[in-house]
Symmetry: C3
């Protein structure tokens, strides 16, 4: 299904932009920009494919890197012109990419015969692990652990997708349901700044094994 | 051998508790807790299996995640009640988990025909890499590099196991010897605060290639 | 070609020295030294092999670890005697190791039928990813993102190698051309402190998706 590949590349490009902005904020060089853009865009999918022991998705398909490098270059050009991509525009497309990555990643795991639990984890990992590696390379604690309703929307989308399949929906319908619920929940989270509980506020002094 | 799986799950649960405590200390959200608990518990084994190119141990076995999520949930509930798991209790079970992970990891590598050296490294990696990833995600320098007699006990356990095999001991006897030596050395290290030399104290200003 | 393995081990040893110096600077213990020396030396190649889904190069060859541990031990002994390896000596051998890793990594990817783009990336990754993991474990932002002409020399070397192959040069000639261009560009970068643009100097306050 060719249009799926275009959704994929759009998500890749948006993630690459977020990696480029992180590298820019940390005043990295051109190589740092390319690495952070690539890692953010394909880090999660690579980790998923390595763990599932299937060929990594980009190994024989340069279109991923064309999307990543174009997005990074465009972003740098805009930034150097003191312009930037509006944050809400980015979040809107990021939510589309998120919806796409999660459902595709979940489906890929199910195709390989994993349990539903592992499939949802793989789908979520495809979507959030790249950003986690980006943050680690920037020496930040992963943004995704900070209470924003981001990863949870991935889990919800994956669960909806699998429930729909079990309810007998066609793969296509289940995909639409999963992506729509993920996408709308994510937009709602952005609009009303929904968060999930952050722990440890009053007990940051506990021992550890 | 079914009881082995129970040892495994016990180690997994203890490592998950240590990941949960780290996430709590860093005031992460519920997703951060799940990721840190999982990464600490199965990160080392996953890395080992990916490098040995065998299916990751949890891909078709949900019992690992049931153990991890229960341990994380229990820990959060205790912490919210201002209770905590006594540190020495945790260290005791951590030592059991350590002994189990190291010997099992070493055996798994030997089964795949690696050299003894690589087998001991794989066994040690199974046991310590998860905690290293946990610390990196928490933006800490890995605890295991800080002079405590932790990783060294893993190496000793693995070496004792392999020496016992070469001395003609049965796998079971060798396991018992390896686990016991690792476990007792670790307890001794905790009791008498044994450490290994920490370098660089007076020369933290050297150049690098 | 046996002499190739000696080049390989020389590069491994130099990278292990750089890992040892980093661990020393961060005042890590003996285990930290071994882990950082190993990760710096074989981290990039391991990542490359895992992504290409071929057996990791060191899994059945102890000579890598003999080189790593000897280099780490020697370095520690020198440091404890208040001696150190002259920085320009290290950089000279580091440049040789770099040239070797990049061309060998690129060739390995080409042998597996990847595109030229992916092959150059794999070659560069073999050479720089180990140092990136070293820096992450030391809680530093990877040095390779900081504007020094390091990773770029790897990309240039890989591109020259592939262009030479396409121009009909023999593998050996292409290797010599790729390695020489990489090596001389790297030495020039060190001598005249060539850098690549660092971004974000004036806009460190931008939003992100």
């Amino acid at each position: 299904m060719d249009y799926l590949h275009w959704f994929d590349l759009m998500g890749i490009a948006v993630f690459a932009i977020s990696g480029t902005l992180a590298a820019w904020r940390k005043q990295m060089d051109g190589f740092g920009v390319l690495v952070l853009a690539s890692v953010t865009a394909i880090g999660g999918g690579t980790l998923r494919d390595v763990i599932l022991d299937v060929p990594v998705v980009w190994i024989n398909d340069n279109s991923y890197f064309i999307a990543i490098f174009s997005a990074a270059l465009l972003t740098i050009l805009l930034l150097r012109k003191r312009l930037t991509i509006p944050n809400n525009t980015l979040q809107f497309f990021d939510a589309i990419g998120l919806a796409f990555f999660v459902i595709m990643g979940t489906q890929k795991a199910l195709d390989l015969g994993t349990s539903n639990l592992v499939a949802v984890m793989m789908g979520t990992m495809s979507a959030v692990a790249g950003g986690m590696i980006r943050d680690v390379l920037c020496r930040d604690i992963p943004m995704v652990f900070r209470g924003e309703l981001y990863a949870v929307t991935c889990i919800v989308g994956g669960v909806v997708y699998i429930l729909a399949l079990h309810a007998g929906a066609s793969t296509l319908l289940a995909m639409v349901l999963g992506m729509t619920s993920l996408f709308s929940l994510r937009l709602a989270a952005i609009k009303w700044q929904l968060t999930i509980p952050v722990f440890g506020k009053h007990q940051a002094d506990l021992g550890e094994p």
